[in-house]
Symmetry: C2
Subunit: 254 residues, 2 copies
């Protein structure tokens, strides 16, 4: 059994999240699983790392053949600690999620789930982030697990292009119509800050908002397919360079 | 004077950082400046947002015609608070930095400085992140200020493509040779965790590491130009889709 792939599982909702338990269950048939996650939720943590505080690792032991470790770090910290301290080698695959909530369109930039997948990719490990379009802690992940198995099997068989990771989103329905590879849609969060006053008379603000699809007519985006009950796979690049702008090759006088 | 552009200045090193004072000085000739920054350093905060804690804003008053606000939020929070609560309108430009330390190559993904610029861009505001390749708190920013003026003037005159922001890095030299628009180089952080033991006998870990250029032969990357004493301008895209991988259009069986 030692030639089974080593699969690192992490997330941004913390070690107790139902979504991660379902992800572990979905990929367990494909290899040896090690789970490294945080002791709390790190939603909205993006690609953040902890540079000013020390990180702790707690070995939670093994259950049903799966090894569990809990840390006080962000999702990206969990990946770094796994590669360099916990596993002492690079895993063969990294899967992150299943996130409780969408990471489609520009939400990819805020997501700790995707941060972990991006970090895996930056270290040369084929990596995938999975998200379900439901924020419920007891969401039904049964359709999601089918999507995870299908996408993971494809990566297992065909690999992933270097410097590319996958952002997979799954509609909240009990009948996913299929899985589409597509581009990231244009969209943004329209924010509103709720203003409150604390007992000392100071105002404070809670971030709230809703997502707005800026390409409602497009029929080739993740937003379009998700609205039509398809799961989406957006291949994402580590290289952030905007190729079109680069061609302009502007001159700057110093 | 009311038709002067409104320029929001932020950073990830906190309200007292020398780099931000130099950025304010460099752009002050171009418009009305409002500074919104954090009460502490948020290095390595990437595009993180604060979803579980309330945010506070403190009006620090005006000095030399510049308005200052301090918050307890991340750089991206600072931009969101500025757009929706402090300014009550979108600024004409957002500049972030000058960061104490490089944000070239893949460091762009960890950077709070760039997170703020990306957030500005996502809200339709032409946005630029500036970084100096020195981690010294008393670094010499005099060459950096020339670079800031040149790049900002170009954006003022020609604008920026929609959904594109600029990642500007400046070599730590007293003789910058010029400014080059170029692509993001391939590279990664090679990590090492320093292990220590706390008074209760528990091990803890400090993240350390050094950056490795994975394309040492390339002569068209930010890393190449920075090593040769040029400042670099990488136009970056909000769209993370990897166009080459998308063309493969894989089929997934559900």
């Amino acid at each position: 059994m030692t030639n089974k792939p080593l699969i690192l599982v992490t997330n941004d909702d913390g070690i107790h999240a139902k979504g991660m338990a379902c992800l572990v269950e979905a990929v367990s048939e494909f290899g040896k699983i090690v789970v490294v996650s945080a002791n709390k939720s790190f939603s909205g943590m993006s690609h953040a790392i902890t540079v000013k505080n020390p990180l702790y690792i707690k070995d939670m032991g093994e259950k049903d053949g799966v090894s569990y470790y809990v840390t006080n770090g962000t999702p990206v910290d969990c990946v770094k600690l796994s590669l360099h301290t916990i596993l002492h080698r690079h895993p063969d695959y990294i899967v992150s999620g299943i996130n409780h909530g969408s990471n489609s369109s520009t939400s990819v930039h805020y997501s700790g789930t995707i941060g972990a997948a991006r970090e895996g990719c930056m270290n040369g490990v084929p990596s995938i982030g999975f998200s379900l379009l439901s924020y419920q802690s007891d969401a039904d992940f049964s359709e999601s697990m089918k999507v995870v198995k299908s996408v993971f099997r494809s990566v297992l068989e065909e690999g992933l292009a270097k410097d590319t990771y996958l952002n997979v989103n799954i509609p909240d329905t009990d009948n996913v119509k299929g899985i589409k590879m597509c581009r990231q849609g244009k969209g943004k969060w329209v924010e509103e800050f709720l203003e409150r006053t604390d007992p000392r008379g100071r105002n404070y603000y809670w971030l709230t908002g809703h997502f707005e699809n800026l390409e409602p007519e497009a029929t080739d985006t993740d937003e379009y397919y998700l609205e039509n009950y398809f799961a989406t796979v957006v291949p994402c690049a580590i290289d952030a360079t905007d190729a079109a702008s680069l061609k302009e090759n502007k001159n700057y006088e110093l």
